[in-house]
Amino acid sequence: MRPRDAQYQLLMREAVRHALLLFIAAFAIVPLLWMISTSLKPPSEILSAQIRWWPDQFHALENYRDAFTTLPLARYLMNGAIVTAVIFSLQVLIALPAAYALAKMRFWGRSAVFGVVLFCILIPYHAIAIPLFLLLHVVGLLNSYAALVIPFTISVFGIFLMRQFFMTVPDDLVDAARMDGISEMGIVWRVMLPSAIPAVTAFGIFSVVAHWNDYFWPLVALSDDSYFTPPLGVVAFRNDDAGNNYGPLMAAATVIVAPLVIAFLLAQRRFIEGIAFTGMK
């Protein structure tokens, strides 16, 4: 083969590659672009049959203002932030000591406890929603932040993940800390946690993404809209505005999707690795 031909072939291959990838990328991002585009348009342009990606008349201010005033969107965002932050903190608080014990301590019943953890990973959370609902009803905690948080305080997946990570931490490190007279609890937070930051970050991304986006459990546990998280908020918005008020609705959707998407764009590698790492779940 002559060098010119080889070069031509390479160029063709690249062209085909980009054409196909652009096509797939369009499928992936058109809904997001259309959402943003609609959130900038006045009603007359939204209801027109023509496809316009950029508004003639800029209506963003009105749409976003309506999104925040028709329903307490700011409150929903705050609820979402509180709930995801508290869930993740409690998960770490409970899972890390447990994971450390399972990874680095020898005690009677260790493999039995680990067996229970592995078994619990298999339980799909949708399936136990009914008893959890009844439980929270009996203790009178439905319709509260507690209702949104309690079922997720225990992350067996988090215990498993952190145990696997702690296994790779050298025993010498733990023994040295014990020699220094640090308590077991002290070892968890002062020795293990600093060495496990990458794994905790991966788990944090997994946890926050899952609970910011969760729709099923808040739907079950809440009827009072003052505790609504963003997913419930955007659906309430849609149902509330029975008309075709798409500008503010798309503005609300944009606001709800934005935090995770922006965080992702700022730390892509971390997010992709974190999601791939926790992909076993």
């Binding site: 690249e14 980009h18 990838l21 797939i24 499928f27 992936a28 058109v30 809904p31 997001l32 259309w34 959402m35 209801l47 049959a49 496809i51 000591p97 447990a98 014990a101 990874a103 301590m105 005690f107 019943g109 406890v113 619990c120 298999l122 339980i123 949708h126 399936a127 136990i128 929603a129 009914i130 008893p131 609902f133 439980l135 079922p151 225990i154 993940l161 990570f165 790779t168 968890v188 910011w212 986006n213 729709y215 739907l219 079950v220 997913p231 955007v234 659906v235 609705l249 798309m250 959707a253 709800i256 999707v257 998407v261 892509q268 992709i272 999601i275 791939a276 790492f277 992909g279 076993m280």
Partner: protein
Amino acid sequence: MTNWAARATGQATTASLAGAALQPRKRAGTQTLAAYALLGPGIVLMFVLLIGPLMSVFALSFTDYQLGERTIAFIGMRNFQALVGDPVFWKALGNTALYVCIVVPGSVALGLGAALLIESGTALRSLYRVLLFLPVMATLIAMAIVWEFMLHPIFGLVNAMLKSLGFAPQNWLQDGSLALPALAIIGVWQQFGFNMVLFLAGVVSIPKYLYEAAAVDGVPNAWERFRLVTWPMLGPVTLFVIVISAIRSFQVFDTVHALTKGGPNKATEVLLYSMYAEGFEFFRTGYAAAIAVIFVILVLALTLLKTSIIERRIHY
């Protein structure tokens, strides 16, 4: 990245075996108390929030309990008998299976294709990876509402595009034959980027010398390289991705609840939506628990399949 945990397990067993041999027996006794102090909250919560509820769901499925009622009676298998005789249940099961059968091949093929295309060149790799992964990060329920707007029969973007290409507009979510496929397309859209990331990890881990060897052996073109090297090496990853996609799409709920409520005429009734509607809208708790039991068994079967694949990958 998934290999990492597997490697950790392998190391761990050797490490703990060595540790067991070296450490005096007494150690285990003194550490037991301290260990359970650390494990305590976790163990209690596991029993209260996971194992207890799981057992309750099985127990409830044998009762006639209705939410808010003061009475509860054991009725044996009658909920399950009622399920077997309920055409809506079979419809839900069939629809769930159909949804899985569209989303799994769609999202796996698209994820694999995207991963291979991205890795086949050098330019703009990370840009494409980010763009294709965006749907995974976007809150599904908010995007479901965006999709509803895009699928609007009169001023939706999808119909506008179809019309400009010369096709007839469709009433996507109200047409009984189109509603489930429309939801499945949303499912593919949401999941394929996730699969792509898992495939990318798999593609990267294929040793380069295999391709060099193929070149030396005179493997003629890209397709042959794919057939002889890439595909066999990706086999275990692919199996794993298929099962993960199946588990995820089996749990479809958000789009159904927000967009179709199982309609039109039960065309999008799926298992999890039936359970939710029976349990939390009609308050037939016992009956909903029976659906949950079926759901658990099916998800468990899929999960065990996944676990056996992970184990196999360790020895791979």
